[in-house]
Subunit: 407 residues, 2 copies
Amino acid sequence: MSKYPRSPLAPDEFPALPVIAGAEFATIAAGVRYAGRTDVMLARLAPGTSVAGVFTTSKTRSAAVLDCQDKIGGDADSGAAILVNSGNSNAFTGRAGFESVSRLTASVAEVLGLPQTRVFTSSTGVIGEPLPDDRISAKLSDLAGTLSEGGLEDAAKAIMTTDTFAKGATREVDLPGGKVRIAGIAKGSGMIAPDMATMLVYIFTDARYDQAALQRLVSTINARTFNCITVDSDTSTSDTLLLAATGASGVDATGAEAFDAALNDLMLDLAHQVVRDGEGATKFVEIRVEGAASDADARTHAMSIANSPLIKTALAGEDPNWGRVVMAVGKSGAAADRDKLSIRFGGVLVAENGWVAPSYREEDGAAYMKNSDLVIGVDIGLGSGSATVWTCDLTHGYISINADYRS
Amino acid sequence: MSKYPRSPLAPDEFPALPVIAGAEFATIAAGVRYAGRTDVMLARLAPGTSVAGVFTTSKTRSAAVLDCQDKIGGDADSGAAILVNSGNSNAFTGRAGFESVSRLTASVAEVLGLPQTRVFTSSTGVIGEPLPDDRISAKLSDLAGTLSEGGLEDAAKAIMTTDTFAKGATREVDLPGGKVRIAGIAKGSGMIAPDMATMLVYIFTDARYDQAALQRLVSTINARTFNCITVDSDTSTSDTLLLAATGASGVDATGAEAFDAALNDLMLDLAHQVVRDGEGATKFVEIRVEGAASDADARTHAMSIANSPLIKTALAGEDPNWGRVVMAVGKSGAAADRDKLSIRFGGVLVAENGWVAPSYREEDGAAYMKNSDLVIGVDIGLGSGSATVWTCDLTHGYISINADYRS
C-alpha cells in the first residue's frame, strides 16, 4: 500500500475484526489521487445509531471537520453514514472546499436515503488542492451496492496515506444484558500530535449507548489516548474520530464500566498503532512523568521530552543520553527543580539528586536502548502530578518521507 | 575543527576583528574532552568594565549560569574576567558542579588579581559528566601569560563544539566623543531555541556604558535577536551572553542611538551566523508574520512555523509545501482565521482568501525554494501584530549529527 517498507514496530498481523451488527462497509478505487488502490470507504449505520466524535483543534481545520462538528448530536433515529477518502484532505480549499463537502454529503444522503445532516465525511491527504469530489460521487452507487458487514478491514486499507500498515483493533464485552462488540480502524503516521494528529479513527459497536453520554465518554478517553501521542508535534487540519453505536445487539452499555474500560483499551491500542507507524520510526517510546506539581505540569514535561528533536535523535542512535532529558524538563516551562529530578530508562536508575546515579553504568543504559520498545521514567520530585505519553524516535526515514512526500 | 563539513550557509570568511582596548584574550588546549585543539579561552577586562548578560531560562540550568547570574550588576571598578571551556557543559552535575565553578573562579581571581565576584565562567559540551576543572586550573598561569589584545579570533575557535565555522562580527560607531568599536564572538549550532540556545556569545566594546543601562539594552536587543532564532526548538542548560564595555576608548556611549543600533546589528549578525551553522542546515529561513492580533500572537505563529518538523523537512526537500504553513498557523494556538490568511514565499504570493492564490504557479514556488536563503511571509489578516524569526531546514545531516554526537 505504502511505498515505504512496513514499520519494524508494526503488529504481526491485522486482527480478525468481528461483524458489528448494524454497520456495513464498502470500499472502492475512485482515483482521487492514488492509482491502483482503494481510496474511498463508505459506512452505513442502522437507524438508532448514536454517533460521537472528537476533532482537531486546529484553527485552519478542514471543511469536512467543520461539517462533522456541526452534525454531532443530531437525531439518531434515521441512521447515519460515514464517507472517507484518502489522497486529498480538502483542507484550505476555501469556499470550494465547503461546496465539495456539501455535494458529497447530499449525494450520499440521496443514495442511502438518509437526511444530509446524518452524513459525516472525512478527507485525508495533501492540503490546498481542490477535492475532485465528482470522482467520488461517480462511484457512490457502486459503493452502496457492495456494502457488507464484513468490509471493515478493507476500509482500514482504503483510508491509508503514508501508513505502512493498516490499523485495527477489537474488543468484546460481556454485559448483564449480553455480549457486545467494538471494532475500530485508524490511519495516521505523520503530522501526529495533539490535538489530535493527521489521524482518522472510526470505531463501531453494536452496543446501544445514549448519544450525549457517549460523546462525554469519547472525549474523556480521547484525552488520555489519542491526545497523548505525538510523532512530530505537528497537528493536522483534518483529525477526526467518530464512534458509532448501532444498538443492534439490543444491549444497552450506557455507563457500564466494563464497556468504558474496553473502549479505553481499544482506543489506546489504536493510538499506539499510530505511533508504531510513526514516519521512519524504529523505537516505540513511553514517557512516564510523575511527581510533578500537577497533572498538567506532568503532561507539559512529558510532551517536552516526547517532542524534543535531540531526544528523538538520541533514541534513534540508541544513545542513553539522559542529559537531553534534563534539558527537555528544564525547557518545558513547567515547574522543576534540577536537584530533585530522577530519571529512569526502563528499570535502570540513571540520574537522581541533580546528578548521575551512583549505581548507574553507561553499559546498562546503552544495553537498554537497544530494545525497540522503551520507557523513559521521570520523577520531578515536587508533587503528585503524573502523565504518560507515547512517541517514537526521529530518524533518517522521517526526513526521507517528508522531504519528498508531496512531489 | 568540527568533524562535519563547513556549513554551506557559512559566511565566506571570519571578519577581521579590531583590537578592543581594555580587553585581552588567550586560548589553550587543556584537554577537557577534545584532543588536538584549543578548548579554553580566557578574557581579561580592564578596571572600569561594565558587564551585562542574559542567560538561559531553563529550570535545569548549569552551575556556571547560576553563578554568572549572581554576579551581574557587581562592582565594575576592579575589572573582570571571562573563562570559557568547550567539551563539557558542567550541567546537571549536582553539588560537584558548583564546586567546580567555585574552584575555577577562585583560581582565575588569584591568577589575575581580581575579586572572585568578577570572574564569569561558561562551559559548553556534554551534560551530566563531571567537569575536570583541574585540567583547566593547571593551565591558568600559561593562559594568563599569553593574554593579548589580538586573541579574539582564536577565542572564537576555542569555544566551538559541533560548530562547523567560527563566528565573529564587528561594528564601528562614530559618536560625538569619538569612535568606538564593538567585536563579538559566538558558538552554537544545535539545541538552539529561545530562551536561548546552546549558545555562548561574548561581546566586547571599548565604549563606556553605564552598567545598569547596558543590562537593559542587552536584554532588549536579545529579545529581538538571539531569542528569535531556533534550530530545533531545544533549549540548552548553559546559554550565556556576556557583554563587556571596557570604557578604554574614553567615549561614553550610554544611551547613544547609534551605538545601540550598531549593537543590535552586531547581535543580529551573530544570531544569524548561529542559524547558518544549524546542525545539518542547507537553508537559512526568515519567517515574517504580520497582521496578527498582537505581537505575541505573531511570535507564536512564527515559532510554530519555524519549529514545525514538517515545514523544516519540506524546506530541505525544496518543496513549496504551503499547506504545511497553513497547518502550523492552525496548530499554534494563537488567533487565526483560515479565510483571512495569506502566504508568500519570497515575492511569490502563494495563498490568500483561504485558498491557493489564482496567480500562483507551482513552478514559481518550486523555483524560489531552490534559493539557499528563503523568506516565508504570512499575513494573518486580523490585526497589526508582527514578528520575525529565523530558522533553518531539517535534514539528514541533523539526524546524523545528533544520533551519534555523544558516543
